[in-house]
Symmetry: C2
């Protein structure tokens, strides 16, 4: 089983927000995943082959195949049911998820479907060229909260060895069952949810080889290295 990743977290850090792969091409590699659109425009949640965007106003819409992504992860869903989580607060959730992984050295997807309380998400605002840094963009993000939500948490666990390539640890997005609320997950207390996990033998990392900005990027600069470390926190 394979996890497909287009781009790297490191590319976003200095502001390479331009889309370098179409949604149509991305979906050839999976029906489930997360990502962001060109310009770092919002948060993507991909379920059953449909791509939803949560923008900085909190609006949710279905994304067209011609739109472009600078960074995304997808895989073909083939989850293994793990069990039910009941009354797990946010502080304990990531540890509980980590305990269920095959190994902390393996890329995995986690999916939680059920009822959640105090659901807090964020969505970044789309930027125009010349793009700012990821740090500057993150400061302008919107935050949304709902007291109770039926929905899906979907995302990935990346081993620490791949810090900079991906955000180490869990990177989770949320979409409500009514498809009206979602974003990058900042907080959720699990009331009751079914947990499914899929571990990956292969990471297919796809880089924007032909992109002149990517080619010229000096990822070894001290500023970028320290900003990558900040972005991973």
């Amino acid at each position: 089983m394979q996890l497909y990743q287009h781009g790297t977290l490191a590319n976003l850090v200095p502001g390479l927000f331009g889309g370098t792969l179409s949604i149509h091409d991305l979906l050839q590699h999976g029906d489930t995943g997360i990502g962001t659109l060109s310009g770092l425009d919002g948060e993507l949640i991909i379920l059953n082959g449909t791509v939803f965007q949560v923008n900085a106003k909190g609006d949710v819409r279905v994304v067209d195949g011609s739109e472009m992504v600078p960074f995304a992860n997808v895989h073909h869903a083939d989850f293994t049911p793990v069990g039910e989580l009941t009354a797990v607060n946010d502080a304990a959730l990531r540890e509980r998820l980590a305990q269920q992984l095959i190994s902390l050295n393996v890329f995995s997807s986690v999916k939680l479907t059920g009822t959640f309380a105090n659901v807090t998400t964020r969505a970044v605002a789309g930027q125009k060229r010349p793009y700012p840094t990821l740090k500057a963009t993150a400061e302008a993000q919107s935050v949304f909260t709902q007291a109770e939500m039926h929905g899906t948490i979907i995302g990935y666990y990346s081993p620490k060895l791949f810090a900079g390539v991906a955000a180490p640890g869990f990177h989770l997005h949320f979409l409500s069952d009514d498809q009206q609320f979602g974003g990058h997950l900042l907080h959720a207390d699990v009331t009751q949810a079914n947990l499914e996990i899929q571990a990956f033998e292969d990471l297919d990392l796809h880089l924007p080889l032909a992109d002149p900005e990517f080619q010229a990027l000096d990822l070894d600069s001290d500023q970028i290295v320290s900003d990558i470390e900040l972005a991973e926190k």
Copy 2:
């Protein structure tokens, strides 16, 4: 175009030398590459679908499909001729190669065929369980030198962002045209050689998901992190 990598440098650092993929399976992903055998037994050079091993005695033999690797890189050769290098000494070689890459952010393979002087290679000695660390094994390696050799330098450039996953920078092996001399390249002055380069849009990183030792490995331990940094030098 895709680079296939089985395992990570980080796995080798604490001594995970057991083979976790057969040569037969490895060759499904390429006809050209480098690697090592189970137990860290020697240096592999893969050219035109044939796998050669240089062992710690300096002997070269063709490896059978049933033998196993803990770490290897292969790709399907589709090189672009870059030009001829003449009278480039070892001190300047890697810089000259780096100048010819599309980008320092892209995985690439380099292949040099021609005549080389002062060719120095090493080969690690196969280890038995319980395996020592990579550092302890490296101290027991053999070094070989030839004043002049007709042969092939084959290997890969990995971006610094992937330090720990691979050795950052160039990782080059050598095989003589008469298939009697080779190993991990420590030094070579180029007398005259043709340079070919192949850049990769995708890295397919294949991890030994089912291996209990890999699953249990604590890659976050301070000792392993500092040993990975040493191994990359």
